[in-house]
Amino acid sequence: MAKIAFVGESRLGLLFNSFDITSFAVSNGEEALNKIIELSRSKEYTIILTSEDYIASIGDYLSNRQEISPVIFMLPSKENRGESVSVIRDVVEKAVGIDILSKNKLQGE
């Protein structure tokens, strides 16, 4: 059966634990990146949730990764809202040549 993992802050991780989502507590972006790489290689999880707070550390990894599985899904945070879409936007812009997922459209501002 496919499983979901969460890599991020420990307090939020406890909440996800109650939902049968395995949590891995990390305290900074570098730890998060290492954990995500480790989990991606293990192929144990199908979806890896993480916080947009670590975007500075894992953004490059996400834009350049070639693997299809697992899916790395970034959860928004108060400070970094919409950052994950900007990573996807870069990938899409590179591929399609047009900025379809424009920032203004996403934030609706």
């Binding site: 307090r11 109650s18 939902f19 949730l49 899916v71 997922l101």
Partner: protein
Amino acid sequence: MLLSVNPTRMELLRLRERLNLAKKGHKLLKDKLEVLMRNFIDVAANFVEKRKEFDKRFINLENKYYVATSNYLIDLLEGLFLGSTFRTELNVRDASIMNVKYPVFSIKNSGSPLAYPVTFTPSSLDDVFTELIELVAQIAELASLQQEIYLTAKEIAKIRRRVNALEYVMIPNLEETIKYITQKLEEMERENIARLLKMKDIIRSH
């Protein structure tokens, strides 16, 4: 750019066949690209819309959760949340659009995540748990859409490269080479006629 081939009739026939095939392939790929692009724009718009709503709800939920649990030490909280019977069953099935395969996730829930004693905790924590059940299902849906966007974008890039290679390199090269061989053959024909006429003149003069 001319292809390095011998200017013979056999080669001309072969090149014409290749040109026809390249034109057919180009048309098919262009049609595929168009359908993928149309689908891609729909999926992207849908994703942006849903993600916007999800972001708003998740941030609210996160705030509520931190406020509700601010009085608890993390160890105590861990103890309170122990014993959850909630099970999240993530199912993956493969879907395909124009031969682009992507995973579609769906979530089946069972049990209850509310394992803590309700008398000890604020009621807003119950709201957090109830709302997160919905959001987890939404995460699965958004993850599918995100993956579909990624994979379609990659396929579009690949097809676009092929279409461009056919349109700007292969087809012009083949056309140029065919033109060159045709001209060369016509020239050889004319040379042959001129040679025959000359021979006829020489024979007549004797």
